[in-house]
Structures are given as structure tokens and as C-alpha cells.
């Protein structure tokens, strides 16, 4: 499990060197959220506030069970409620616990310009080291799931930590502990996939042919996975992306352009230096001065042509 020594990094934002990773012999973890077992009680949401000492401002009733209206700097997980009418004309209430997916290939980390402000531990957890965050909001642009939020008070970016502090001492995340129906499970990623497979089999036997696991390969898989009854249409669940991927625009911005541009600027400066020592400075000669003086003198002496 991730340890507070920070010697188990597999990724570190804005770093060109290998991060300290000697203590990286650990299992990858995952949280498995079985949407079909969730009753929307928000115990996980409360537990998250409780463990992390988060108190979002009390908002307004917006005509929905969703409360607050959106994720925020102090809302790291949020129950989202969607009403869906299925082919049989029956109403389905699709409830999803939204929050950071802890991507294997995290777009937030890729975009972040501050060295070490976002790290990924060997167990797969993506953590914001807020002390190093400069508040630029690049992680917001990098994330394919629209997760990080920047605080207006301290200008730092926040999101779910997967309770990295609890996990590092062998506890399960607070939301997992609080869930009364066992809809949230936590363990090694391999175990969670086995668990999911059993659940999916059960769901299929009960008529949900499209039941499946949400572990999107486009971001290398995630360390928060869902069991969905409609795995063919994840977007039914309050806009869970069907094919989440780091935007190609972000890829272009953070890709080969950067080293190329820095090299280009350095080359231009070096080129200028070599021009200086080969072609040399362009000096005004004494002849130039004499010619320049002559032009001015002649103009002075000249009778104005336009004068009568």
C-alpha cells in the first residue's frame, strides 16, 4: 500500500526523471461500485465528508435528489440520480456515485505543470499533493471525467484521494466502510474483477443482458470500477463517458510539441550567437557617416524647389 515515505511513485506530474519508486512492490488496488446494489442513501457521501473533514456550503434544493448540485473543492464524491425509461416502458432509477476514477493513465497528471503536484502510487491511486499545486486548472482540462475542482479560497485543486491515507495503513476507503448494502467494495484490482464477474453473471441471469464492468481501456483501465446493468450505454448514468479518453487536443498540447519548442528556442538563440561570431556585428563605417552628413548638408544647401 502506498506509504507516507513517498517511495512508491509510479508517476509524478511535470517530471522528466524517474520518481522515487523503490518501494513499489505492491498490489494494484481498486474500488468496485456495484450500481445495481446502490440504494442512493448517500452514506458514502457523508462518510467522505466525515473522514476528510469536508463541509461544503449548504446549497439550495434544485428539484433533484442530487445534493449539492455538483462536485466541488469540498465535494469529492456525489450521488447522481438519473431517470431512464427502458424499452419495456418501465422507469429505471439509475444512481451512480460520481468521483475520481483513479485512471491508470491519468489525464490530470499528464496536464499538470507543477512538479509533484499530482502523483500516482504503485497501488494505482492518483493523489493530489496540494502543497505543490499552483492552481492553474490544467488538470481540469486534462481529466476525461470532469472531476478536479479548484478552490476559490486557496486556489488548489481537489478531488477524491481514494482515501490514500487510510489505504496506506491497511484500511478500506471511508465510503466503502459506510455503505450499508455492500455496493462499494475495495481490494486488489484482480479480486475486484473476479467479484465483478460474479455480480455480472448474477445480473445477466436476472434479465440484464447488457450487464458488464466499466473499466475503460482507453485510459488504461481505472482503479474505480463500476458494475453497470447497462454497460453498453454508460452515458445513461448521468453522463458517464461511453469512451473516456484523454482529449487529443491535450495529447497534442502535452506531446512532442513541448521538447521540440524548447529545442527550437534554444537553437534560435545558439544560431544567433554563431551568426554573431561568423558574420559579426553590422557596424556603421566612417564612409557611411560622411555620406549621411553629405545628404543632410546637400538638402540644407539646396534651394527649396517648390518655393517660387
Amino acid at each position: 500500500m502506498s506509504d507516507l515515505q513517498s517511495q512508491d511513485y509510479v508517476r509524478r506530474s511535470a517530471s522528466t526523471l524517474t520518481p522515487p519508486s523503490v518501494r513499489s512492490h505492491e498490489d494494484e488496488v481498486a474500488k468496485l461500485i456495484d450500481v445495481s446494489r446502490c440504494i442512493g442513501c448517500k452514506a458514502c457521501q457523508s462518510a467522505c465528508m466525515e473522514w476528510n473533514d469536508l463541509r461544503p456550503e449548504v446549497g439550495h434544493f434544485e428539484g433533484s435528489y442530487e445534493n449539492p448540485a455538483d462536485l466541488g473543492p469540498s465535494v469529492w464524491t456525489l450521488m447522481k440520480f438519473a431517470e431512464h425509461e427502458n424499452e419495456q416502458g418501465n422507469l429505471e432509477w439509475l444512481i451512480r456515485k460520481d468521483g475520481c476514477m483513479h485512471c491508470e493513465d491519468p489525464g490530470c497528471l499528464k496536464a499538470c505543470p507543477a512538479p509533484g503536484a499530482i502523483v500516482q502510487y504503485a497501488n494505482g491511486i492518483v493523489d493530489f499533493i496540494s502543497d505543490k499545486c499552483i492552481g492553474c486548472g490544467y488538470c481540469v482540462k486534462g481529466c476525461p471525467f470532469n472531476i478536479p475542482r479548484i478552490s476559490k479560497q486557496d486556489h488548489k485543486s481537489y478531488k477524491c484521494t481514494l482515501c490514500s491515507d487510510r489505504v496506506s495503513v491497511g484500511l478500506e476507503p471511508a465510503c466503502v466502510k459506510a455503505c450499508p448494502t455492500g455496493a462499494i467494495m475495495f481490494g486488489s484490482k484482480t479480486d475486484m474483477k473476479h467479484q465483478a464477474a460474479e455480480r455480472i453473471e448474477d445480473l445477466k441471469s436476472r434479465g440484464f443482458d447488457q450487464a458488464g464492468l466499466y473499466d475503460p481501456p482507453e485510459v488504461g483501465g481505472t482503479h474505480v470500477m463500476y458494475v453497470l446493468h447497462h454497460a453498453d450505454k454508460p452515458s445513461l448514468y448521468s453522463g458517464l463517458p461511453d469512451k473516456p479518453r484523454i482529449s487529443p487536443v491535450v495529447g497534442a498540447w502535452k506531446g512532442f510539441i513541448k521538447p521540440l519548442a524548447v529545442a527550437g528556442i534554444a537553437l534560435a538563440a545558439v544560431g544567433a550567437f554563431f551568426h554573431w561570431i561568423t558574420a559579426g556585428p553590422n557596424e556603421v563605417t566612417e564612409e557611411d557617416e560622411a555620406e549621411g552628413e553629405r545628404v543632410l548638408r546637400e538638402a540644407d544647401a539646396h534651394e527649396p524647389e517648390k518655393s517660387p
Partner: protein, 219 residues
């Protein structure tokens, strides 16, 4: 300021103050921008008191730059209009590069290179300004959608690189063509400098001088 008595004014005090405000802003923006642009340059954030201060200061300096550069556009656009001489000058660029002034056709107050710097920046500074506003998290983070901001940050990055390259050329040209810097610090050039680098401008000045010459000079 002591000037030789044959000095020709090239830039007025207003020109110069405006230019150096722009230059200062540009340098600060380049340093803070590059710190965010590449991890190996993040150490530059130390110049601004750390990452948070740098991130906060950059857009404000950008606003000053935009206002200041507008001043330069207003003061300099006329003399940067392109004409036939610019084509001729560009065709002789390889002689320009090796200081072979004999083979370079005479040009007016600005040559094609200077005009290119002016017009590139006239395009790039507003591009940086508007793309910069879109990615200004504190005030405009919620003003546009995330996909728009992704494009804006890419545009800002690319425009910044282009502007920095133009700036390198601009600064080197000022060092290379001796006594250009003095034109922008003390405001004057010598007749020989004007003859060598901007001969048509010198001719214009000479003819203006006798057109406008006060009567008492020609009794």
C-alpha cells in the same frame, strides 16, 4: 541627454517608454510562461516568488502587455505598411545576412524584417491575450466549456512559442545592427546609421527638412 549635434531622432520619448513597458512585460510573461510550459523550466517560477504567485501574476502582466502593445500598434502601424521596397529587400536577404550592404536595395524607415516582427506580434499578442483569458482559471474558469479551454491552452502554447521565436530574432537583430539599441534607449541615430540601414528614410528626412525649413534658415 547629451547627443551629438548631428543626431537624428528615431524614437520619441513616448515611443521609447511604451516600447520598454512592452518589453518588460514580454520578458516576464516569457519567463513565467515557460516555467509552466516545460518541467525543466519550472525553476523559473522561483523568480516570481513560487508557483502560486507566478500563476497569479502571469495573466495580469498579460493585460498590461496587451494595453501597452496597443499603444505600439497605434504609434507604429503607419511606418510598417508594406510596399515594393520590402519585396526587393527580402529578395536580397542573403546579402543582408552577411552585412553586404552594397547589394541591399535602399529602404525607408523600416525594412521588411522589422515589419515582419511588427505584424507577427500584432497578430500574436491579441491571440495570446484572448486565449489567455479563456484559460484564466480564477475569473473565467467557468465561463467556457472544458473542450473550449483545451483548444485555448493549445493555441496559447503555440502562439507563445511563435512569439518567443519572433522575439529572439528581434532582440538579436537589435544587437547585430550596432547602435539600434541606442535608438530605442536614447532615441537617436547618426546620419551614417540612417544612410547605411534606412537610406530612403534619410532622403525623406532630408527633403522634409528643407521643405519645412524655417525661412530664417534661408534668408
Amino acid at each position: 541627454m547629451t547627443r551629438p549635434n548631428n543626431a537624428i531622432t528615431r524614437y520619441t520619448a513616448a515611443n521609447r517608454v511604451n516600447h520598454w513597458i512592452t518589453a518588460l512585460c514580454f520578458v516576464l510573461l516569457t519567463l513565467s510562461g515557460l516555467a509552466m510550459f516545460h518541467p525543466m523550466l519550472f525553476f523559473l517560477s522561483g523568480l516570481f516568488g513560487g508557483g502560486q504567485w507566478m500563476r497569479a501574476a502571469h495573466p495580469w502582466i498579460g493585460i498590461v502587455l496587451m494595453a501597452s502593445y496597443l499603444g505600439l500598434i497605434i504609434q507604429f502601424w503607419r511606418e510598417n505598411l508594406v510596399n515594393r521596397d520590402d519585396v526587393a529587400w527580402m529578395k536580397s536577404i542573403r546579402y543582408v545576412a552577411v552585412n553586404d550592404e552594397e547589394h541591399v536595395p535602399p529602404v525607408g524607415r523600416n525594412n521588411a524584417g522589422q515589419k515582419m516582427v511588427f505584424w507577427s506580434m500584432t497578430l500574436l499578442v491579441p491571440a495570446l491575450f484572448f486565449s489567455g483569458l479563456l484559460i484564466w482559471e480564477v475569473y473565467f474558469g467557468a465561463a467556457t466549456s472544458i473542450p473550449v479551454q483545451r483548444v485555448a491552452v493549445l493555441v496559447h502554447s503555440l502562439a507563445a512559442i511563435a512569439a518567443i521565436l519572433v522575439w529572439v530574432v528581434h532582440v538579436y537583430a537589435a544587437i547585430w545592427i550596432r547602435h539600434s539599441v541606442r535608438a530605442m534607449t536614447q532615441g537617436y541615430v547618426t546620419p551614417g546609421w540612417a544612410w547605411r540601414h534606412h537610406r530612403k528614410w534619410l532622403w525623406e528626412l532630408a527633403s522634409e527638412q528643407h521643405d519645412k525649413a524655417p525661412p530664417r534658415k534661408h534668408p
